[in-house]
Amino acid sequence: MTNQVYERAQEQGSSVLDLAGVRRRDPQALATLFEQHFDRVYGLVFRLLGDRHSAQDATQEVFLKVHRAAHTLDPSRDPEPWITTIAYNVCRDLWRSGAYRLTRQAVSIDDPEHGDASLTSRADDPEQALVAAERRGIVQKAIGALHEPLRAVVVLREYQGLSYEQIAEMTGTTPVAARKRYSRALAELGKLLEKAAI
């Protein structure tokens, strides 16, 4: 979402987020910010990290950092890119930690314990829920099998809707390199999904 879109949304009242209140750490403003961004942050870190425990830890870390840095927020700009950058950096730090690699070796995303808590709940049609959970598991497994730079590009672009320029800025590369990574990621995903016969 660009700033213009964000400003228009603000004007139209579709968002009642009070960024000045967030800067003051006003509880109501913080609650609104949380409600607006939690799902997006959680979805991003889950797709980047691949298991529920890591996603929860990372999400908590993201919101802790947001809370600590709330006073630096620019009230005239959409906070979403800022929060997305924090979330991506938290995941990147986690990737670089030896413990995460050990965890990745030990945890299978097929294991329901480490999967999404909602896979088997809140669905009207159990069969449909099962199919959706299976599809989600296969896609997530394929994304998780990608090399981390490729995974980041495909997740940031497909699920966060970022442009190559934004991805490049966030991941410290060039837009051309980001586009190449994206193409490579899709090619690898194609092979992985074909193997899984989705």
């Binding site: 908590q60 947001v66 995903l189």
Partner: protein, 271 residues
């Protein structure tokens, strides 16, 4: 958010994208969401499991351990490679014994003698002939009968290149090999210290004083209470017992052929 400069995806890419987009989003555990919301609003975050931070300390510790192990390995390997060749006793035509640290050995038993020749060992030659000792490529020494001395450590390859010996009485001839370059050997007698940096010379410790005969190269002689004297090839430096001065003379004629023989014979053996 806009996608900036776009290119149209290929059919294969489109198929993959459809599969990605068809996967439903992930929803968090409601209890986790509620707890985090409460923490975020209040600013009082519960203790975090911190999968990021704790193992980092472990990783740093592991790095230190690996670093120390690597450094220790390098040090051990370097020390092993730095070691100079051991002293070897060459067969002698004479009969008699060598007393090594109080243990008397036959000069004919060169293998046992070689085994006991360690840097710092005290030797006393009680034989009818000279005894040759060699550290391959570095140093060769010839002890005359009646000589009592302390054996030096051959200089190391890269470090530990200064060594010390002493001659209490008798005659020691020394010639240096091609790998001695840059090393130093100090030979102490009752009257003086002889500094060797690459030469062929004889150190004679007599009851009247010390004489140093230099065949080639430059040697420095310092009386224990005097100043350093430079000894040139073909010269003899004498330090009379009880004095602090040295005196230069022509080289002893008797020593020249023996030093030439030592140099030619042992240089061939050493190098």
């Amino acid at each position: 958010m806009s996608h900036g400069t776009e290119t149209r995806p290929s059919p294969q890419e489109t198929r993959v994208l459809e599969q990605l987009r068809a996967a439903p989003p992930h929803a968090a555990d409601p209890a986790f969401r509620a707890r985090l919301r409460r923490d975020f609003v209040s600013g009082e975050f519960a203790e975090r499991p911190l999968v990021v931070a704790l193992p980092r300390r472990r990783r740093h510790r592991a790095r230190w351990v690996v670093g120390f192990a690597a450094a220790a390995t390098v040090a051990i390997v370097a020390a092993a490679l730095n070691q100079a060749p051991r002293w070897t006793a060459l067969p002698s035509a004479g009969t008699g014994t060598v007393v090594v640290n109080g243990v008397s050995l036959s000069v004919a038993n060169t293998s046992e003698l070689t085994r006991r020749l360690r840097p710092g060992a005290r030797l006393l030659l009680q034989s009818s002939q000279d005894l040759d000792l060699v550290s391959s490529g570095l140093l060769a020494m010839q002890l005359s009968p009646g000589t009592e001395m302390v054996l030096p450590s051959p200089p190391g390859r890269w470090f530990g290149r200064a060594s010390r010996a002493s001659v209490d009485r008798g005659l020691l001839r020394v010639t240096t090999g091609r790998r001695f370059g840059g090393a130093r050997l100090a030979i102490r007698t009752p009257e003086a210290t002889v500094h060797v940096t690459g030469t062929t010379l004889a150190v004679i410790a007599e009851p009247t004083g010390t004489s140093v005969c230099v065949l080639e190269g430059i040697t420095h002689v310092r009386p224990h209470r005097g100043s350093m004297t430079r000894v040139h090839p073909g010269s003899t430096c004498e330090v009379v017992r009880g004095t602090a001065t040295s005196r230069m003379r022509e080289m002893r004629e008797a020593e020249r052929p023996k030093l030439l023989d030592l140099r030619d014979r042992l240089q061939a053996v050493m190098n």
